[in-house]
Point group: C2
Chain length 372, copies 2
Amino acid sequence: MSTAAAETVVVGLGDRAYDILIGPGLLAGAGALVADRFPGARVAIVTDTNVARHHLPALTASLDAAGVGHATVTVEPGEKTKGFAGLEQAVDAVLAARMERGDLVLALGGGVVGDLAGFAAAVVRRGMRFVQVPTTLLAQVDSSVGGKTGINSRHGKNLVGSFHQPRLVLIDTNVLDTLPAREMRAGYAEVAKYGLIDRPDFFGWLEKSWRDVFAGGAARIRAVAESCRAKAQIVARDEFETGDRALLNLGHTFGHALEAATGYDGARLVHGEGVAIGMALAHRFSARMNLASHDDAARVEAHLRDVGLPWRLSDVPGGLPGADRLLEFIAQDKKVKRGALTFILTKGVGRAFVAGDVPASEVVLFLKEQLP
Amino acid sequence: MSTAAAETVVVGLGDRAYDILIGPGLLAGAGALVADRFPGARVAIVTDTNVARHHLPALTASLDAAGVGHATVTVEPGEKTKGFAGLEQAVDAVLAARMERGDLVLALGGGVVGDLAGFAAAVVRRGMRFVQVPTTLLAQVDSSVGGKTGINSRHGKNLVGSFHQPRLVLIDTNVLDTLPAREMRAGYAEVAKYGLIDRPDFFGWLEKSWRDVFAGGAARIRAVAESCRAKAQIVARDEFETGDRALLNLGHTFGHALEAATGYDGARLVHGEGVAIGMALAHRFSARMNLASHDDAARVEAHLRDVGLPWRLSDVPGGLPGADRLLEFIAQDKKVKRGALTFILTKGVGRAFVAGDVPASEVVLFLKEQLP
C-alpha cells in the first residue's frame, strides 16, 4: 500500500488549483490520501461494471482501512450512460447515500465515468467536492485536467455540462496493465498530441521511448506526467476555452468528422484513433499549405504507424464517404464563417497554432487527394 | 415603450457583478435593453403557459422591434416542472433552437421558471448567459438575487442545481398587477423579512406604507429595490452560503416544516405564508428565550395580520400534527447536532442572528404552547 506519488503535477487555477498525483500502486493508497486531505468526508464512488470488476475491491478496501465511509453507484459501461437518464441515476444514488456538500464524489473509470460523475458532483447540492481516479490512459492524460464535465444530448455530444474542477486526481499507472491494447494505443494518440502541440523534445523522446511507455514503469509515469503538465499549462492560460485552449483540438476536427462518418461505431474507429489520423492529416495539410515541411508530416505519420495507430484515411475499416460529405461533418463540428474554417494547423513538430481562416475549398481538395 | 429604469441595484460579485433594473413598464423595453447590452445575441425564452398568456406577447414584440432573434420554450406551470424531465425539456429546446454559448436564456416567470431556466442556462454548452424577467413579487425580491438555480429530486426540493449568476435582471413592477392577491401577499412576506433581518427603518416604513406597496407606483418600486439591495448586500458577503447568507432563512426553518406538514399543498399553505408564520414564531420564540422583547414579537404579528398574512399555527387550514412531529419536520430540514438546532433568532426588529445551539427540547415546548 503506497501513498507516495512518483510525480505531482499542480494544476494552477488560483483558488481552484489542485494536485494530480501520479505513481504505480496509488489506488491502494487512495483511502489514506482521502482521509489525510479531506478529513471527515464520506465518498460516493461512481464507476462502471467493467472497471468495478478490476479495481473497485482495491479502492473500497483502501477506504475501509482508512476508516472512510463510502457508497458506490455502478453504471453501465459505454457512451449511452452519458445522458440525462444516467445523470439522474448517479445524482439520485449520491443523494440516497445522504452525501452532504463537504463529501466527495469519486470517479473510478474512464472518460464516460469521469464526465458523468464530475457533472453529478457539480450539481448535487449545487456542488460537491470531486476526486478523479482515471483508469484509462485517455482519461489520465486528457479528462483529468481541465474540469470539463458533462453528458450528451440528442443534439450532440458533450452539449450539457459544467466546468467543475476536481479537488484531487489520483493516477495509478499500474491500472493500465488491465487495459486492452487497442485502448492503450488510442490513449497514446493524445500523449503524442502534447508533443506535437508545443513540446518537440517530448515528441522526440516518445519516438525513442514509446515501447517503454507501453511496457509500464518509469517511462509510462514520465509520459503521463508530461502530458498532464502540458495540458495543465494550456488550461491555466484559458480555463473557459475562449482562446488558446483550442490548441488541444489538434487532430480533433478531422478526427471528429471521421468518428461521425463511421457512425460513432467503436468497432470501426475509437476517439483516439480518429485523433491519430486527424493529427497526421493536420500535418500533411499544413505541409500542403507550405506552412510545415513534408519531412515533418512524414515523421508524424511514421511514428503513429510504428505505434500501431491508424494514420491515413485508408486505415478506416469499412470505407468512408466522399470529400464533400466529410466536409459537411467537419462543418457540423465547427462553424463555417463565409466559407472559412477554424483549424489547428502547424509550422512543424511542436509548433501548432490556431488558424481561423482555412478555406473550405482547400480542405475539400486535400481530402480528395487523401481518400483512397 | 420604456427602457429607463426607475431604480438600479448593482449586485456586487466581482467579475460576476450584474445590474437589476427596476421600473414600471420595463417589459416593453426588454428588446432594446438586450440589444444594447448583448449585441448580436439571440434569446431563448423559458416561460410557463400562465405567464405566457399575460406577458409573452409584450416581450416578443419588444424583441422583434429591436431586431433580436428569439425562440420560446413553454413549460407547464407548477413545482412538478422543476425536475429532471423539465430540465431535459428546457435544455433540448434551447439546443434545438441552435443557441450558442454567447446567446441568452431568458426566464419569464416566477420562481419555478427562474430556477429551471437558470439551471438550463448553467449547463447548456457548459454555461450560457442568463437574463431574468421575474413576474411574481416573490421572484422579484428573492430569486432575482443570489444565483441559486436548480430542480427538485425525489429526495427533496432544490437538491440539484448550480450557482449561476444572471447577467441582467429586468423587474417590471407593473406585471404584478396581474398577480392574484394571495400570491402578492405571500411575496410580501419576503419583503418584510429584509426589514426584520437588519433594516429596522425599512420595516417601520413598511408598517406605514404597505397599502401603497400593494397598490403599485413609487412605493412598490421602493419596496422591491430595497429588498433586492438588502439581499444583494448579504449575498455579496457570502456568495456560496457558508456563513451569513443563512440570515436569509429567517422564518424558513419553521416555514419549511409547516410546508412539509401540509404536504406542500399550495391550497393550504404557500411558501410565503409558511415564511410569514415562521417569522412570527421566530420572534415569539426569541422573546420566550429572553433574547427579544415580547413587544417586538407582537409588533411583527400585528403587521403580518394587518397585511392579511397568516401569522400563527392556528391560521393553517386543515390542522397540524403535534409538536414532536413538527420537530421531526424541522430536523429533516436542518441537521440536528447532539440535540441542538441551527435557527435564525433575533434580538428585536432588524436584529436577526444565526443561533447554532438552540436546544430541540425548548423548540418542542414552545411549539406545544403555540399549537391551538
